[in-house]
Amino acid sequence: MTEILNYILLGFLVVCAVSVSFSKNLLNSILIFMSYSLVMSVIWILLKSPDLAITEAAVGAGITSVLFFITLKKIHAIQSGKREEEEDEPEKRAE
């Protein structure tokens, strides 16, 4: 049973790793990367190293993605809701 779960998770890892590089939207890329880390931490538990699982969940899924989010926001690759609408409208008119 654990073996089957292991194979499913490993397959999920491959799918995540490929789709990170193929996704056009940077925000989606980060979210997929986050899920990659989360699955990785589950795999660490199955490999019987819970200390690595804790670190992976905290650093990989938490801190790194947050830093990516901030960086994307600083370079205006993602914008928060209201601003986006305001800024998008004049562009649409121009088109």
């Binding site: 819970p50 200390d51 650093v59 938490g62 801190i63 901030i70």
Partner: protein, 320 residues
Amino acid sequence: MSRRREQSEYEKTFAFRFFRWLSGEKDAYIGNMEMRPQKEYEEKEETVAERMREKGKFSAEVYDKKYNRELRFFDRLYRAFSIIFCIAIVAVLIFTVSFLPEVGNEANPDNNIVSETYISRGIYDTGTVNIVTGMILAYRAFDTFGETNVLFVATCCVMILLMVDEDKIRENKESNDRGFEPKNDVILQKVAHVLAPVIFLFGIYIILNGHLSPGGGFSGGAMIGAGLTLYVAAFGFEKTERFFNERVYRIVKVTALMLYGCIVLYYFYTGANGLANLIPLGEAGRILSGGITLPINIFVGSEVACTIYAFYALFRRGGL
């Protein structure tokens, strides 16, 4: 007895000039070196228009794949080669992996005397029930000291790159990215209200139990750092600065690193075995046991927590 010098005599000495330069009273370059303010480069509108026109002509004629056969050919070649290259690398890696020994095989080269010694003698030498932490923090304390230094240097580099003057932070408070966010998001605040204390508590538990249960300084520190990040994201920097500001950060970080350095120095000076005098190994399985492992866990934990919070704060607003 040193004789008291006259002020005029002292001003001629090297020490006076050095300290004056150090305190920034006199810049060695001013007066000795010709300095001109840099002019801003301005371009006429006509030249800009002409350049843009030429650029457009170029891209229309030269870089259009319809007319340029060589470019089309190179484009296909490039794609073909990139695919071949990727497949070759994957093939080589898989080929190499097939030669690796099976996991858990008794005849593997990693089943040697080192791991045997760690497993059989670890609890007597280091007093830690968790062999992994005992290995990392007692047998290889010097390695981990290097890693902790790397964290310290990494924070310094991020500070050099992203630190903004404190006045500017106050000036640009509204235009700062804090202004763009939903300032008091109720959902986030309620969740943080419930979760943050639990995360802090769990992190502290992991650090203090590093020598008894899985985990240790790095894991626990990362969790506390993540908790701090959550707290800042929910409640803003003003509330966080009440208990964690730049002063606290500096004191905690430098003190932790220096005390860790002292412990490692003592440990190696006494031949890596004599520390039982300073910090007794204690009874295995108790919280207050494990010799140097527990204090080193605490130091590494606070170091990592500070690093993670500093990364977040520096990325967000360019200051702690």
